[in-house]
Each structure stands twice: as C-alpha cells, then as structure tokens.
Symmetry: C2
C-alpha cells in the first residue's frame, strides 16, 4: 500500500478513528440510563437554545448532520414520546418545525448533569488546557471547512 499518508499521520488517523468510536459508544451507553439516545439529547439541546424553542426541520438536520429522512424519523419518534411537537411553518407552508415540549425540557434537564459528567470523565478530565485549545482549534476549523464544502457542492457549479 503506497503510503500517501506519512506514518505519523497514519497513526494519528487510526488513533482518532478508534478512540472516537469508543468514546461515542461509551457516551451513548451512559445516556441510555436516562432513556435518551445521543441524537435525542442533541435535538433537545438545539431546540432548547433556539428562539421560541423551535427549529425548522432543515435547519435541525443540517446542525445534527442528519439526512432529511433520518430527521423525519427521529422527530416522529420523539413526538411519540412527547418530547417534541411538530408544527407547520406559518410563513412557508412547505416547511414544518420541531418544537420543544415541557416534557422535552424536563427530560433534558434531568439528563444534562449525567451527560456532562460523562463527557468530563470519559474525555475532558484527561485533557490539559493546551490540548483542549488544540482540539478546539482543529475541529472548529475542520467543521467550518467541511460545512462550507458541502454547501458549495450542493450549489450548481463553479466553472
């Protein structure tokens, strides 16, 4: 396999993939104790922070990095459990918005301390400030770039 990645970067990539996989698995498992998946939790957080505690489906999908149909399913499931409600959008009748319910907010408030503790113990407590700064810089830059690239590719052409 001709190495198109130098050994340092290859090791970096592998460590990142494996550790991230383990971390996500662990965080999900901890969250399950509060009856939520990570996706559930993430939806609740985003809605709780949004003005009027509601977001358009498209906006939510984009922030969660979910496909539209995955989000439809996700929100339907949360709706069945009473965590969110769906309302059709007043100004654009094609659209609909997910709205946080009181029960949803409650569920978030219940789970948040455990979840944040889980993030601390599994990841953050082991990082010093310099490492936190490095990760933040790297991943914010990466996220911005990938987000921009996706927008560009959905736009007609750049010839």
């Amino acid at each position: 396999m001709t190495e198109s990645l130098d050994p340092e970067r290859m090791a970096c990539w592998r460590a990142y993939i494996e550790a991230s996989q383990r971390l996500f698995t662990q965080i999900e498992e901890d969250l399950r104790a509060d009856g939520l998946s990570f996706a559930d939790y993430h939806v609740l957080v985003l809605l709780s922070e949004a003005p009027r505690q509601r977001l358009r489906m498209g906006e939510l999908a984009s922030r969660l990095v979910f496909s539209p149909s995955r989000l439809t399913y996700q929100i339907s499931a949360m709706q069945r459990r009473g965590l969110v409600t769906r309302q059709s959008c007043p100004d654009d009748r094609r659209g609909s918005e997910a709205v946080l319910t009181a029960a949803g907010l409650l569920a978030l408030r219940d789970a948040a301390p455990h979840h944040l503790a889980s993030v601390r113990t599994h990841l953050m407590d082991d990082l010093d400030d310099a490492e936190v700064a490095c990760l933040t810089r790297v991943f914010e830059r990466l996220g911005r770039r990938l987000h921009a690239a996706r927008d560009a590719s959905s736009t007609p052409a750049d010839n």
Copy 2:
C-alpha cells in the same frame, strides 16, 4: 443548565462532535465511489495486516468497535461479495475466522489510494505537525483508556 463543563471545554466538545460527524460522512461518501463502506474498508485493512490474513471474529469485532452481531452481518455481506471467506477455527471449534480473499485484497488495493487521498484532503492537509502530534497523543491515550475501561467492566467485579 448548570455548566458542569467550562465554556472552553463545552465549545471543544461541540466542535469535536460536529466536525467528526461531518468528516465521517464525507469519508464514507468518498469511499462509496469504490463500492466500499468505511466498515468494509476497515475490515480489509485489518485482515490484510494480520498474520495469514485472517482474524478471529471476536478480535476483529473488538478492533472495529463493533458488536458481535453487527460483525456477523458485516462479514456475511462481504462474503456474499467475495471479499472475505469464513473458516471455522481449528483450535477452538466455537470460533470462526474471517479470511481475506484475493478479490478482497484487490478491492483494498484499488480503493486505498483514493481513500488515503480523501483523508489527506479532508483532514490531514490542514493540520500542522504540532497539531498532528497533539491529536495523536490525545486519541491514543483516550483509546487506551476506554479500551481498558471496557475490559475492566466486562470482568466480574473489583471488590
């Protein structure tokens, strides 16, 4: 939401989650051009590096961070496509091993350059050496710790 995570670490966590999600999505999408999922590719890599190009199901599952039944499905699917073969283990008849086929090796050789280029362009080309070193250190440590924690929790008790 009482912040059990200071703002810097919260921002770090969010950036990490979102960028990682976008990155995995992108890498998967690129790999699909060669007819492989990331899981397929990862299996092929691990088998190609193993002695006699074969690994026990359990070992493979542990390295991929897959549940046993997910791996059973994954290997069955790859077997249907001729990328791997399954052989029952000579020394422990409960076990079976996944074995790389010639076609599997070919598929890996075909896909590898594209995949590695994809990792470079989406991630590595944007990182300087210090950042690579930092990520490697952080994620190797994290991976080791989470792996050890999992082993410990599957072991009876520690009283």
